[in-house]
């Protein structure tokens, strides 16, 4: 008899917990699907909508960028005013156009940390945000472009990113096309040039800690000045072991000015081991 009472009591207790679990909101979270970013003909409004779906979906941006105070609430704040303020700030040393700033925030969040949102104890020098183009978020460039388009549109600007072309696989990282850079003066320092051409997005330069491309320390000794230039202008000529061809942009020869190439080469020649 005791046994029965004890068993019934225990089972009832268990059922109470189970019942509570079933009363709460039931949400099933599916794994992000394997399909690549939609390519092919997409106009800008569709691209912006895609960016918005990524923002609250696969990009997991809204996990932190909400009103709970963990990260700037991008959907609620006055983005335009914030962007203008950021770019006008003389202390801010990053790219000087909106699109590049957003892209930098996505791939190198610690390059600039909004005051008050840095990691605890790092005095706003380190951002808790993970790089959007690496796992676990792992967005490809088309997806990042979509999010940039979405944010630019949200801020009230005309989106400046390129629409995706009709390729099946994710296109290699491209320098921003048709941006304010057209006709802009050539970079005057190595750091400016590196920023302009997004070298640090793939190579560990200027503290980016990126490792999509080979480590460039000591490259001067390995390749020499001429070798570095060839590596920049014709990346597929020689691929470092362990890396894939067709990832590094092939069109620096058309985009870069000779003075910029020289600046970057000199910088890399002087990189310590």
């Amino acid at each position: 008899m005791t046994f029965l009472r004890v068993m019934v009591f225990s089972v009832l207790t268990l059922l109470a917990f189970t019942g509570f679990a079933n009363l709460l909101p039931q949400v099933q979270s599916d794994a992000p699907s394997d399909e690549e970013a939609p390519t092919g003909a997409m106009d800008m409004p569709a691209f912006i909508a895609y960016g918005e779906s990524l923002f609250s979906g696969a990009g997991t941006c809204t996990l932190c960028h909400n009103d709970l105070g963990r990260a700037p609430d991008l959907l609620q704040m006055d983005l335009r005013a914030d962007f203008e303020e950021r770019l006008a700030d003389p202390k801010y040393g990053g790219p000087k156009d909106i699109e590049s700033y957003i892209r930098e925030s996505l791939v190198m969040p610690s390059a600039y940390v909004v005051p008050g949102f840095g990691k605890k104890g790092s005095n706003d020098t380190e951002s808790p945000m993970p790089a959007a183009n690496k796992p676990p978020i792992d967005l490809n460039d088309v997806q990042m472009d979509a999010i940039i388009a979405f944010l630019e549109d949200l801020a009230g600007y005309e989106p400046t990113v390129a629409l995706p072309s009709g390729e099946e696989t994710a296109p290699p990282p491209e320098p921003p096309a048709a941006t304010a850079d057209q006709g802009a003066p050539a970079a005057t320092t190595a750091e400016e040039a590196i920023d302009k051409y997004f070298c640090a997005a793939c190579h560990d330069l200027l503290g980016s800690e990126a490792d999509l491309g080979p480590d460039l320390r000591g490259i001067g000794a390995r390749l020499g000045e001429g070798g570095i230039m060839v590596a920049i202008l014709d990346p597929n000529a020689e691929i470092t072991e362990g890396y894939e061809p067709d990832i590094m942009p092939q069109d620096f020869a058309q985009q870069m000015s000779a003075s910029e190439l020289k600046l970057i080469t000199d910088y890399l020649m002087n990189l310590p081991e």
Binding site: V6, M7, F17, T18, P25, S29, A31, L63, E241
Partner: protein, 592 residues
């Protein structure tokens, strides 16, 4: 065809890797990442489909069952050695007898643990061969060390139990306790090794982060960021869990026994095991907090998935369970006050403690965002209640749990004092100091909570540490002062056995709630990885790579818990069967 290939790969990898790896297991083998094989990336079709079985459910069920049993089998020797030691120190035989009785229960459970563990290993290799192949690459010779440890555990366990009466007194007793110590060391090491594998899957280390190639030593992979937090958390939880289960056993025996002497024995056993359970339970929130903090530090993404994203509601369920455990434990303590005359006098404070515990529980259970229909959202003007919404964020939760812990400890302190009448001069001063300690400590806890509302996020999070230290200071300070205060105190007669039936049901709530809670937390820990086998390194492309609804998860946990309860009933029945003797019918009773 594909899964046969994978199995062949596993066998080949195991054979090729293990032989030289036995020798090199502890060595450092860093090589250029580019030359090493990357982590496998199986596609959906690579996952074996066996019959209509749900791979995930099978693995989940076996893993959770193994953890339940293993927690029990690790916990009981822990407080067997502790009670054995207390028996030596106090000279009270009851402790030694109780320790012996605990160990008897463990024996049956041990082989079941190994059985389920073996089944788990088989299931994992069957359903997730690529993952297991990869983990073997990472941990190499350590799996053989794990096997060797099991051998050692068996040897020490059997010797510890069977030599109990042979090594009973004097120096031999200390030999016996050394064996017990060895048993516990081996058991702990076993758990630490298995923890390394589980935490590696969440916070990998010693591998190349882009390809998953194994670049570091086994020790590097073992010592990943979440290893020690999980070690501490599971160590404490095991103690609490073992205490709760034995308490349930004692409560059942108390209810079933008619003989008042036996009832008194089981009442005493119930109190002692409940004491041990709460002792293990009190520091658990802090260990859990450390674990969560390390998860956040490792990956904000993972941390926020847990507490701000899809898994957030699970922590409300956790709050309900912990609140239940707290209420049950406190109720049992209050009921225990009736065992002494002095205790009854403390009874008048119980209602205030209950207000705090209940209030804390309600705060804990309050979510930040409410479950509302769109019309309700419109009516309310948002998803958060204006007054109660703020109770949903961490400062309120931390304040509530710290206060609940302080007041639970107060219940203990009252019971401890109820059987001791203070006689020394320090008594009054000491009491004054303790009252002051509680007052300032509580003000500090509440103050730090309010502080969290008026400061930026990083300060809000940082304010929880002073709260924890306040709670610990109160507990440690009060214990030390009371120890001095009650030196040479006049002992009051404790009427063991003088307990209501109701109070024993509180002792049943504990193991049931603990078990279900363990299942829930295990589910959270596994889900944190979302769709990764090894976070950011090896994606989970299996057909069941999704996070089920809370209801489904709750149902699965309940089924596993029910099966476990059946197993424990069987185990307890076995141990009693072992002492039952059938009367020989051929022997006639002679009288006089």
């Amino acid at each position: 065809m594909r899964h046969q290939r994978s199995l062949a790969f596993v066998a080949l990898a195991a054979g090729a890797m293990l032989l030289p790896e036995i020798v090199r297991a502890a060595g450092d083998m860093a090589e250029a990442a580019a030359n090493l094989p990357p982590a496998p990336q199986p596609s959906r079709a690579d996952y074996p489909q066996i019959g209509g079985l749900s791979a995930r459910t099978v693995a989940w069920g076996l893993a959770q069952m193994h953890l339940f049993l293993a927690a029990f089998v690790l916990a009981v020797p822990l407080f067997a050695i502790a009670t054995e030691f207390m028996g030596q120190v106090t000279g009270d035989r009851r402790f030694d007898d109780m320790a012996h009785e605990f160990m008897k229960i463990t024996m049956a459970a041990y082989s079941l643990t190994a059985l389920v563990g073996g089944s788990l290993a088989l299931a994992l290799f069957l359903f997730y061969p690529q993952l297991m192949g990869y983990l073997l690459q990472v941990f190499r010779g350590q799996v053989l060390i794990y096997a060797a440890l099991f051998l050692l555990e068996s040897v020490t366990l059997y010797i510890y139990y069977y030599s109990w009466d042979a090594l009973r007194y004097g120096n031999r007793k200390w030999v016996h306790m050394s064996i017990g110590l060895g048993l516990n060391t081996v058991g702990l090491t076993l758990m630490f090794v298995a923890n390394a594998w589980a935490t590696f899957m969440m916070s990998p280390a010693g591998v190349d982060f882009t390809t998953g190639a194994v670049t570091g030593s086994v020790w590097e992979a073992t010592r990943n960021p979440l290893w020690n937090p999980l070690n501490l958390h599971r160590f404490l939880a095991n103690i609490a869990y073992g205490g709760a289960i034995v308490g349930g056993y004692a409560a059942y025996m108390f209810l079933a026994e008619k003989d008042p002497v036996k009832k008194a024995h089981y009442d005493w056993m119930g109190y002692t095991s409940n004491f041990i359970a709460i002792l293990g339970f009190l520091p658990l929130p802090f260990a859990g907090y450390w674990l969560m903090a390390e998860i956040y530090a490792y990956s904000q993404q993972m941390g926020i998935t847990a507490m701000g994203g899809i898994l957030a509601w699970l922590f409300i369920i956790q709050a309900v369970l912990i609140g239940t455990i707290m209420l049950a434990a406190n109720y049992y303590l209050w009921s225990g006050l009736m065992r002494t005359e002095r205790g009854a006098a403390y009874g008048k404070y119980v209602k205030y403690i209950m207000v705090v515990i209940l209030g804390g529980f309600l705060v804990w259970v309050t979510p930040h965002s409410l479950i509302l229909t769109p019309q309700e959202i419109q009516y309310l003007g948002g998803t958060q209640h204006k007054l109660l919404g703020p109770l949903g964020i961490m400062p309120a939760k931390n304040t509530a749990v710290n206060l609940m812990l302080v007041f639970t400890f107060l219940s203990f302190q009252m019971f401890y004092r109820s059987s001791r009448k203070p006689t020394n001069k320090f008594a009054d001063i000491g009491n004054g100091l303790i009252i002051a300690l509680y007052v300032i400590g509580i003000i500090n806890i509440v103050g730090a909570g309010i502080y969290g509302y008026i400061t930026p996020t990083v300060y809000k999070v940082g304010a929880s540490v002073p709260q924890v230290i306040s709670t610990l200071t109160i507990i440690v300070g009060a214990v030390i002062i009371d120890l001095f205060r009650l030196r040479g105190a006049e002992p009051e007669k404790v009427h063991w056995g003088r307990m209501t039936e109701r109070s024993q049901y509180a002792l049943f709530v504990l193991p049931v709630a603990f078990t279900w809670l363990m299942g829930l937390m295990g589910y959270i820990r596994s889900s944190l990885r979302t769709n990764w086998h090894v976070y950011t390194i090896m994606k989970d492309n299996s057909p069941e790579a999704y996070i089920p609804t809370i209801g489904q998860a709750g149902n699965t946990i309940t089924v596993i818990t029910l099966v476990f309860m059946a197993i424990m009933v069987f185990v307890f029945w076995l141990s009693r069967l072992g002492t039952t003797r059938q009367k020989d019918p051929s022997v006639r009773e002679t009288i006089g």
